[in-house]
Symmetry: C2
Subunit: 289 residues, 2 copies
Amino acid sequence: VRIAYQGEPGAYSEAAGLRLSPGAEMIPCESFDQVFAAVAGDTVTHGVLPIENSIGGSIHRNYDLLIEHHLPIVGEVEFRVVHHLLAYPGTTFDQITRIHSHPQALAQCEQFLRALPHVEVVATYDTAGSAKMIRDGAVADAAAIASERAAQVFGLTVLKSAIQDYDDNITRFLVVSKSGVPLGVPDKTTVVFTMERNEPGSLFKALSVFALRSIDLTKIESRPLRGKPWEYLFYVDVAAGRQEPRCERALNDLAEFATTFRMLGSYPSWQRREEAEDGAAHGSRGTDG
Amino acid sequence: VRIAYQGEPGAYSEAAGLRLSPGAEMIPCESFDQVFAAVAGDTVTHGVLPIENSIGGSIHRNYDLLIEHHLPIVGEVEFRVVHHLLAYPGTTFDQITRIHSHPQALAQCEQFLRALPHVEVVATYDTAGSAKMIRDGAVADAAAIASERAAQVFGLTVLKSAIQDYDDNITRFLVVSKSGVPLGVPDKTTVVFTMERNEPGSLFKALSVFALRSIDLTKIESRPLRGKPWEYLFYVDVAAGRQEPRCERALNDLAEFATTFRMLGSYPSWQRREEAEDGAAHGSRGTDG
């Protein structure tokens, strides 16, 4: 198993890939586009891509890239984000005049940063990349916001721990693979569709195919349809495997109502895996967890 | 009328404010937060904020700020974005080694930039701010992507015109005001609500209050509910004024079903104004436009 991810070693995407598949060979890429290209070009077996953070929201670039490329979603993984303030060994907190990190990480530590009005905040392309920059330059007056693993990888000191504003800071990643083989029994399905613009209630009609069958939706996301102002692509995560008969019927109905419809993948939900792991850890799958 | 906007003079937000209210005094601000603060602090009468671009999608920061502040939406305005490549007078296209602009503008000129592999692309906080930077530094090897007005304001040369990937590149702006007085007869209403997480079909139920009354929705946007992973705030734009009886009833029903509900404003849609202007320009309001 070779998994491509965006960022430097120590990036949260790398940790997510290893959580999904411990021992996998993790291949760093500069951009999300390059992760898709590596999977499409068979230099890796899978790609892991952040799609949503519980604080910052959706990572729209990856929603767009799922459309541009034709790589099925075969799995998902969630990873709890804990941000630390990292500096070159010997640097003290009072010496810091600049803090570097990815805009999403900076936004997730907004309250921490607001309490440091004299520190300049610098947006970079990657959390672990900021840590690398400080190591490479042996910079003495700057710090990076990144993971604990980034501190280990780049030999930096943790000046402050767990500086994110919310404890429940979780990123959900999608796994794509050219093979299309789901990483377990599918119980979640992602589709994207468009509806007729000038028909009132068209989204309601689309959602009815699931609601009338008591199929839950875990996420709905809209993105602009380029070249057609104020028309949208709707991405929907359905809490059912595509081969369950009620889901199959719902998707057939949706494909009938929609002006365009595409299946992006059907795969095992991370939530079920976590429940199973919790159950195993407690020696039972009871409801006490 | 004093209108606050984010950016330097020559920014698209400034142009949008002037389109809405020609002759208004336009007050530049460094950030969206400062626009909200200026309106809340009565230093201006209105604030104009980009909320959505037909290519790049929603500007989520402003959706979040609408919740943090309690400033009603009183109007909207659309503005067609035409990006130009601007440089210091005397600079030729072949001399350019760096191009600066706001990440949204860079994304909207992706194809143009991709054809220039040897040029470094630099993200900045503002389109007009990039133009200002080139003027202030008398920089000879860099260019900015910004509006034609930014070229005039900062005395720069247009090296390439209309370099955006799509002709139909339109940004929609919201107007907020402490007074809450809508800028005309409302025919559009924006609300935000949350639904019970574990109830399948809860979004469907929410949308039913509009669909069953044939009230169209022009936009739905979801944002994370902070501190509650994978729960969402739903923002909905309704194509009806809040005081129309059918809309009032629909909103009452939604408030009953929702776990939280807030009215963000009811205001005249830009689309109706454009139709009226088209009608006036053609001497009639016929269907030939």
